[in-house]
């Protein structure tokens, strides 16, 4: 029995780049087409992989040694986030040619609301979805998977249905045909805990879940799951949020470095650099933080962190690093090799309500914020980390990944006249041509 009588009470698209990072690499290097390609060389683990690599048993987050063992002819590439971001922006802009309601969900996926656009675009919903896919495929040079459905949750089911390069249309009347073939733990927003519970209640497929009546769902599950239940039935609950991200719940910066280090001073400088980077982002969005969490990861993936609160919200890395220094000993272990550091800034609030305090620290803070205004100005002109704190020195002055591993994206070495290592043209580079 159909769950919904209307085909498209709303028409929502979910668009997903097929193995996005690896595809960006193959799109500019035709010699890689049809090969097992993996990105993430600088991190030592798989970050993105082509379908050819997947077919050989390579998985995300696998260590690169393991990858080389099971697939000796794999092509390992360092990540070029600059290029991926350019492609990502282009992807969203192309979708915006068709509709202004585009939600940038992550670097390689977005939702778009095309409700009511049949007449203005003079195309059916199916045709619009197909046209968007064709434009993306041809202008970006690799394939995208698209789902068209009455809700976001179902659109996401659609885009996953037939990867890569699929276009799956789920009209309200046909929802049940798809959900009957979908296991309940594959639904967006249903985690392992909930799916285990649902399995105990005899619910195996998404259709089993969607066919339960509201009373059943209401009495057993929480509100987010009620919403998913509605969405699965073709009733839109989650709206498209077309606003660019202008605010953050938290800001985090994590960086791996190689070789791993035992040296306290070096590990600390890595953390200091991350703190500076996080504060740059904080200042870009005019935010200040009050709660900070920092952590270290050892070579054997042991994770140790510490959380503290500040008296007063700040965007000043000097204040934060001073505090980290105080608590650093509680997470740093002598004679252990560390491979990564990270920091999370939380309790973010707009940075405009500096309250005067008893000891008149505000005046000093005011002066320091002026200094960082200039630091940001220099960065805009000459690149990030042009001016940096002494505590970050060893991290910034040493390459993040030492050794013979080629970890710099080749774009940074293949410059045009007038470009610098720090500043390049914002156009994707397809490499050499003869």
């Amino acid at each position: 029995m159909p769950l919904n009588l209307h085909s498209f009470p709303n028409a929502i698209l979910h668009i997903d780049g097929d193995c996005f990072f690896a595809s960006c690499e193959v799109a500019r290097r035709p010699e890689l087409r049809g090969k097992a390609v993996v990105t993430g060389l600088e991190r030592g683990i798989v970050s993105s992989l082509t379908y050819e690599a997947k077919a050989r048993g390579v998985k995300r987050a696998m260590s690169l040694q393991e990858v080389k063992r099971i697939c000796p002819d794999v092509v390992l590439l360092p990540s070029d986030y600059e290029a991926y971001s350019l492609y990502s922006m282009r992807m969203f802009n192309i979708v915006r040619r068709f509709t202004p309601d585009v939600e940038e969900y992550s670097i390689d996926e977005c939702f778009a609301d095309i409700s009511g656009l049949q007449r203005p675009l003079n195309m059916s919903y199916e045709k619009i979805a197909q046209k968007i896919k064709e434009t993306l495929d041809s202008e970006l040079g690799f394939t995208f998977s698209v789902g068209l459905a009455p809700t976001k949750v179902l659109a996401k089911v659609g885009s996953k249905w037939n990867k890569p390069s699929g276009l799956t249309i789920i009209p309200g009347r046909d929802i049940h045909l798809f959900l009957s073939k979908l296991e309940v733990d594959k639904i967006w927003g249903i985690g392992p805990q909930t799916s285990a519970y649902l399995n105990k209640c005899g619910i195996r497929t998404a259709l089993d879940f969607a066919e339960k009546d509201f009373e059943w769902v209401r009495s057993r599950l929480t509100k987010p799951h009620h919403e998913i239940w509605e969405e699965l039935r073709g009733n839109m609950v989650y709206k498209i949020d077309p606003n660019k991200k202008s605010s953050y719940q938290s800001i985090s910066k994590t960086k791996t470095f190689t070789p791993p280090s035992k040296e306290r001073e070096y590990v600390f400088s890595q953390l200091s650099k991350n703190t500076e980077s996080a504060c740059i982002k904080l200042r870009r969005y005019n935010l200040a933080t009050k709660k900070i969490f920092f952590f270290l990861k050892t070579q054997d993936f042991l994770f140790k962190g510490f959380e503290f609160k500040l008296m007063r919200a700040t965007d000043n890395p000097i204040e934060i690093i001073k505090m980290i220094d105080k608590y650093f000993a509680s997470v740093f272990l002598e004679d252990r090799l560390f491979r990564a550091t990270g920091i999370v800034l939380m309790d973010l609030a707009e940075n405009n309500c500096r309250q005067a305090d008893l000891f008149n620290e505000v005046v000093t803070a005011e002066k320091i914020s002026k200094i960082f205004g200039s630091v940001d100005g220099m960065a805009k002109r000459y690149g990030k980390h042009t001016l940096f704190l002494g505590s970050s020195f060893s991290a910034i002055n040493k390459s993040q990944h030492a050794g013979d591993r080629k970890t710099v994206a080749d774009r940074k070495e293949n410059l045009f006249k007038g470009e610098t290592y720090r500043k390049r043209l914002a156009i994707p580079f397809l490499g050499g041509v003869s």
Binding site: P30, N93, I94, S138, N414, F416, K417, G432, V433, S434
Partner: protein
């Protein structure tokens, strides 16, 4: 009539390399009074043909028509610069039509030398355009990018270099055209 007066003033200006005074205008145009000259001058001023300095002496403005020189700013009027600039474009707009489909490549080798495309040059290419006969294109041959003229003979397409030392390429299978070259940029 006004045009005729203008011409006579221009002739005077060309001959004497200065503007006439009121008396000279009177005799030049065979006017009966200086008042008539005054009225005419006001009209010509409205036309932006000429203007007067503080002492009332005549200064040429647009004696030779309305051709404006960019950067000329008249006191008392809003700067024309803004309006004029509305019809200009940035280098980006000039070189790039479809921003999302434009990519760059770096030329190596001299196969397009006679087309003025040299090693080290940047080429801007568009992936959204369907290539046609005579375009310079980026094609994929033996898993490598190549830049050549696209030519058509009968129904068959082939790739032609702009350098006699290089061979013409007849595709063995289907010819894969990735993009059409829209600009070459060389910075010195």
């Amino acid at each position: 009539m006004l045009e005729k007066y203008k011409k006579q003033i221009v002739r005077f200006y060309q001959k004497n390399r200065r503007m006439p005074n009121y008396a000279e205008v009177m005799s030049l145009l065979e006017f009966k009074s200086k008042n008539a000259v005054f009225k005419l001058i006001n009209k010509l001023k409205e036309d932006n043909f000429l203007t007067k300095d503080e002492k009332g002496k005549l200064i040429p403005l647009h004696l030779y028509g309305e051709l404006r020189v960019l950067g000329q700013v008249e006191a008392g009027f809003p700067s024309p610069a803004e309006e004029e600039l509305a019809d200009t474009m940035s280098m980006d707009e000039y070189l790039i039509k479809n921003k999302e489909a434009t990519y760059m490549l770096k030329v190596s080798g001299e196969s397009m030398k006679d087309a003025g495309i040299m090693p080290g040059d940047m080429v801007l290419v568009d992936r959204s355009i369907t290539a046609s006969d005579g375009d310079i294109v980026i094609a994929e041959i033996d898993n490598q990018w190549t830049i050549k003229y696209l030519r058509k003979k009968g129904k068959e397409f082939y790739l032609e270099p702009a350098n006699k030392k290089f061979p013409i390429i007849y595709p063995k299978e289907e010819l894969k055209i990735a993009a059409v070259v829209k600009a070459v940029v060389r910075k010195y």
